[in-house]
């Protein structure tokens, strides 16, 4: 098939989304399809820009651009699912979160308050038109149902280089990889450090908008010997950090999907996550493949002490994690089959 993959382009911000888009294009090509990616430049603010891009997308017909036949459009991101095509399949990475679960009337400006109903109406209208709908995770599907009343089938995909993860001798640290952003809540680990009784340290990998805040927080709490920001790391280093960890802490607020959970499971490591973390809860079962705790520093410290105190159990949780990953049958082949059905 000749497939157009649509997504937005946020210049020079490269995170999971970039790899997701690239991975999808690669998998479709590997299955023998001709794929081109249409990227629409996107910026979150000013809000008027978001409205303009919605209008642009809905006004764009991809059925036969310049006389070229296109067999299918697969859209990954808001608002590109507004583009028109008779065989349009949406695989929703996530919606415009600022207009949904992250919307807080207390802090939102007028423009966002005005934009919000427009975004919700746009999603409901345009996604209803698609031939088939998939969501990146059950969490994303649940939000779509809750806010827009539309169904979508959860469709999971493997993290990049899934085969390269490995497990090695446990060293006394908990690995905390994520962009340093408020939503990822690395502050829980920094505050938990004071409550730890076991000789374990937190290693925080990644960079982001909160780097300076978290650095100061570590300094103020005087836990420099317990917590370290190690910044950007290579993929090889990331795999080594996973391999030797006692466990992995991944406690974001209402995450869509989260590669971290899956990467930790591939490295046979127990995952500590929180009751309100969203995506990770699809895979982490308390006491089976990791720990699910309330988002409180004391609870996190307790969970880490628990892993350190009984490392045999910790290893068992990690092993069960890998089994759970395998049982979930996550593969690009499955993704391609679903999207091209």
């Amino acid at each position: 098939m000749r497939i157009l993959l649509t997504a937005t382009h946020v210049p020079f911000m490269h995170g999971g989304a970039e790899r997701h888009i690239q991975g999808t294009a690669d998998a479709l090509r590997a299955a023998g399809h001709a794929v081109e990616t249409v990227r629409v430049p996107f910026r979150f603010s000013p809000e008027a820009d978001v409205a303009r891009v919605m209008e642009f997308c809905e006004g764009t017909d991809l059925n036969a651009p310049n006389g070229q036949s296109v067999d299918r459009v697969i859209s990954l991101q808001f608002p590109t699912w507004g583009m028109r095509h008779d065989e349009h399949v949406a695989w929703i990475m996530h919606q415009h979160r600022a207009a949904y679960e992250l919307y807080d009337p207390a802090t939102a400006g007028r423009d966002l308050t005005d934009l919000r109903p427009q975004v919700q109406a746009f999603d409901t209208r345009t996604l209803a038109r698609t031939r088939r709908r998939f969501a990146n995770s059950a969490r994303v599907a649940a939000r779509l149902k809750h806010y827009n009343g539309l169904d979508a089938t959860p469709l999971h995909h493997p993290p990049p280089d899934a085969d390269a993860y490995y497990c090695a001798e446990t060293w006394p640290y908990v690995f905390v990889p994520s962009r340093l952003e408020r939503l990822k809540r690395q502050d829980l680990a920094i505050e938990a450090a004071r409550h730890l009784r076991s000789p374990v340290v937190f290693m925080l990998a990644g960079t982001g908008g909160q780097t300076e805040t978290y650095r100061q927080m570590i300094e103020r709490a005087g836990v420099g010997d317990r917590v370290r920001l190690i910044g950007e790391i290579s993929d090889a280093e990331k795999r080594a950090w996973y391999a030797h960890a006692l466990g992995v802490f991944f406690g974001p607020f209402d995450e869509d999907y989260g590669y971290v959970t899956l990467e930790a499971m591939l490295a046979r490591k127990p995952v500590i996550t929180c009751t309100d973390s969203g995506g990770p809860l699809e895979f982490v079962r308390d006491g089976e493949t990791g720990r699910v705790i309330p988002p409180e520093p004391e609870a996190l410290a307790d969970a880490v002490d628990g892993l350190h105190g009984d490392q045999t159990s910790a290893r068992r949780l990690g092993d069960a994690g890998l089994e759970a990953y395998r049982a979930a049958g996550i593969s690009w082949q499955g993704v391609v089959e679903a999207l091209c059905r």
């Binding site: 990616t37 006394p172 640290y173 010997d225 090889a236």
Partner: protein
């Protein structure tokens, strides 16, 4: 990492251990993923033998004969079992003996015949090898002659138009003739002396051939990705110098030739048995037919060319590359502060530094389908200021980053119609794929 389980682990030791393990476990993680496991030459040779065997079996007389002989051989192998069965029958002992003799005779015949067939096979092998060598040699001679003819023809055209211009000027008045003569100002030193100097300079400044070869190997996967390097899609290396890259390609079984203007470097390459000639890059490209090359490579050549020549090289490369073909150009990266202000100017024959943005735009503008920039050769870890302080990180980024970059551009693959062509050359933009 040994740890007593009571004291806090030392975080710096942890980090050092993880880094060391990552390096040891994934030594070629970064740009050069997927080294070739089988040398291409070996692979081709064994495929050649299998092909030959298949051909012999398909031959009208030899083929069926061979198959018949093989089944006979199988019969003699089962002789022992046959005899056992016969002896069980007691009455058949005499018959078995006679059969045994006859089978024994037959088996001797089979051995003799197999010997002769295998002799015949050896002779056929040799004959075929010779024929293949002669054929390949003839083809390359014909191709070379065609190239030379094309060069001669374009040279002739240039001289002819120059003559016509002169004639017109003479007819117009005769006193305004401007003849561009390179000998008008006598050079301070001879060309050959300059060439010898730059050959030595190249070794001193760019480093040993073996070290460069190691860096160049990183580009082999790019050739594989576009299927370049066989008879139908050979590699052309512009500015091949003493042939370091050609040597890498030859050792891995790729078909390649190179050109360079420095005669003393080309002589070195030719002495090593490489296909290298003294030729101008643009002239060499102009002599190639449309779509006849799998890849065009140019390492540290672009920065020597006047801009209009570089522009023309992009256009000619697009014409001469086969669909999906690769244009690969490596040049110093002026984003690195030392390169941009200092090391670039070591070589007095350099023009201006070329930025990644310019090279990328050049390729986009000409209508290459896939265009990427790969930054390579950062300063070694030891040159970096200690990480941690923001000022250090900024300085490291500016001064210790990649010293070179490669432009990697692919022509549109076969079977994809270009909408850009229909829209006009000025609007040529590749697909928006990342």
């Amino acid at each position: 990492m040994p740890h007593n389980g009571r004291d806090l682990p030392d975080i710096d030791t942890l980090i050092a251990n993880i880094r060391a393990e990552a390096k040891a476990r994934f030594p070629d993680e970064q740009p050069e993923a997927g080294r070739k496991t089988e040398s291409a030459g070996e692979g081709r040779a064994s495929r050649g033998r299998a092909e030959l065997r298949a051909r012999v079996h398909r031959m009208p007389i030899l083929g069926p004969g061979l198959r018949w002989l093989k089944s006979l051989a199988l019969l003699t192998r089962t002789r022992a079992h046959a005899i056992e069965g016969l002896e069980l029958g007691r009455h058949g002992a005499a018959a078995a003996q006679s059969l045994n003799r006859r089978v024994g005779d037959l088996s001797g015949d089979v051995d003799r015949l197999s010997g002769r067939v295998s002799d015949a096979e050896t002779v056929a092998d040799e004959a075929r090898d010779t024929a293949e060598r002669v054929w390949a040699d003839t083809q390359s001679r014909v191709a070379r002659t065609e190239r030379l003819l094309r060069v001669a023809r374009s040279d002739l055209r240039a001289r002819w138009s120059a003559m016509e211009r002169l004639q017109r000027q003479i007819e117009a008045g005769g006193d305004a003739i401007d003849v561009e003569s390179p000998g008008a100002q006598p050079a301070a030193v001879s060309d050959s002396e300059m060439e010898a100097f730059f050959a030595a300079f190249d070794v001193a400044l760019r480093g040993e051939a073996s070290a460069i070869a190691e860096q160049l190997r990183a580009y082999l996967p790019d050739l594989d990705a576009c299927g370049a390097g066989d008879e139908a899609r050979p590699v052309l290396d512009l500015g091949c110098g003493r042939g370091t890259w050609l040597e890498v390609l030859r050792s891995e079984g790729y078909i390649a030739r190179g050109i360079d203007l420095n005669r003393s470097l080309v002589d070195e390459a030719a002495a090593a048995g490489l296909d290298a000639q003294v030729e101008d890059a643009l002239a060499a490209l102009r002599a190639c037919p449309d779509g006849s090359l799998g890849a065009i490579t140019a390492f540290h050549l672009a920065e020597h060319l006047p801009f209009d020549t570089l522009y023309a090289v992009f256009a000619e490369a697009l014409r001469t590359l086969a669909p999906g073909g690769l244009l690969l150009m490596e040049t110093p990266n002026p984003e690195n502060g030392y390169v941009g202000t200092h090391t670039f100017y070591h070589d007095p024959t350099h023009g201006n530094p070329l930025t990644p943005a310019l090279m990328e735009f050049l390729a986009d503008y000409h209508g290459y389908a896939e265009v990427a920039v790969r930054r390579v050769h950062p300063y070694p870890e030891s040159a970096r200021l200690p990480d941690g302080a923001p000022a250090n990180e900024r300085l490291n980024g500016w001064l210790c980053g990649p010293q070179d970059f490669a432009l990697i551009a692919r022509t549109r693959p076969a079977g994809l119609d270009s909408t850009a062509d229909a829209a006009g050359a000025g609007a040529a933009v590749g697909p928006a794929d990342s």
